[in-house]
Symmetry: C2
Subunit: 241 residues, 2 copies
């Protein structure tokens, strides 16, 4: 091993910020938020902490970079059947983020804290821009665009955040059906006096589909925007799921 060569080639491969972020994402995906430690990182990269700290200021910056990388990748994906209506594009962007959070559950918490900690960071504008452009294209007047876009972004992050971990945090081997069943049962056993509503929708919770539900929420917000911020209901009708 260590066939040291003369040119710019290193023993394994040059350590770089990129490679570190990549490894960080893998660790986060594999073991959740708690899985990213400098110890694990040094082991996986076969190096020491000092080398990592040379490329990255601290753990917080590393998390930000990992978040940024994943979000950028998610927003860059072009949907297979690219929709031409602005509403369709909004749904596509939202679904992209939804899927990204579903694939990287740690994103949910990370986005929530990062959005509030530094709205000037690169993540917020990226998401905001993607949604906002289409909001403008729908025909929302300028004065309402900030409100409408904010509402959409907040809904997306709130919904995706909750749905994300549902399946994963319990362990990747838990059956989704069983999980929903358990929650539904728990809801049905609540005190009928204190929780009449929650009990009554327990079966709807059991049978709901996350993505479908998520899109239904998007359509709800879009319908609200149409109703409140467009002169009439002229925009393209909300597409059927």
């Amino acid at each position: 091993m260590a066939t040291r060569t003369r040119r710019s080639q290193r023993r394994t491969e040059a350590l770089s910020r990129e490679r570190i972020v990549e490894a960080a994402v893998e660790l986060l995906d594999a073991a959740g938020e708690g899985g990213l430690t400098f110890r694990a990182l040094t082991e996986r990269l076969a190096t020491g902490p000092g080398a990592i700290y040379w490329h990255v200021a601290n753990k917080s910056e590393l998390l930000d970079a990992a978040t940024d990388a994943v979000v950028a990748a998610a927003l860059a994906i072009e949907p297979a059947e690219s929709p031409d209506s602005p509403r369709g594009k909004i749904r596509a962007v939202a679904l992209g983020l939804f899927d990204a959070i579903d694939e990287h559950p740690w994103l949910a918490t990370q986005l929530a804290t990062q959005l509030s900690r530094s709205p000037w960071g690169s993540v917020t504008p990226r998401i905001f821009e993607s949604i906002g452009r289409q909001v403008g294209a729908v025909g929302v007047p300028e004065g309402s665009q900030f409100t409408a876009t904010s509402a959409l972004v907040h809904y997306i992050l709130g919904a995706a955040g909750q749905n994300a971990a549902n399946g994963r945090v319990l362990g990747p081997d838990v059956d989704r059906g069983e999980f929903l069943d358990a929650v539904s049962k728990a809801w049905e056993e609540l005190d009928p006096d204190d929780y009449p509503f929650t009990r009554s929708v327990a079966d709807q919770m059991r049978e709901h589909d996350d993505r479908e539900q998520f899109l239904a929420g998007i359509d709800l917000v879009l319908a609200g925007i149409t109703a409140l911020h467009l002169p009439n209901g002229q925009a393209s009708a909300p597409p059927a799921t």
Copy 2:
């Protein structure tokens, strides 16, 4: 000191789960998420870690308990001018949560993680129930109640989560005006080619009011529910902010 007495009176006051949770909330409020350590807790309660661990299984459970306590208190508050319309009540519940998160910024992250970690915990049903009841009262048919309520709850948590920390995480002494100004300026300096929309709403971001904006989003979702899930637009007209 330590005038040890014979009866059931202790030196300071009996240690109890309640007192521990109370102290935890105070520490969280004072110093944020990082402020809650068992060290600080033992110091404030003038005891040792063992005593605390007798009443509380681990830090995670303590955080859950603190979250639960604050949310329960927030939902229990009756608004001064109790609204009689279901929409008004939804707005009141939402504002209650918004204010609670504003007062206890750590709630944002905590709610996000807790909601996804254990939807059967006591927090989710509590919030869900409060909103859901009013959704039913608005006239949403049963089959759509789960969807409508989910959308509202997701929006509330997403929005409150972001707005919450805006003012606090930067330090309690940062002026809100300056903060928004800084963000707005940062947005205005983005690349015009990549971020036309974000640049165009930079001034709206500068002048927006968090609460007002939050309520506008609620109205948006409510309008969407009215449009999509009520036979006609019969429900009480959305209140003017």
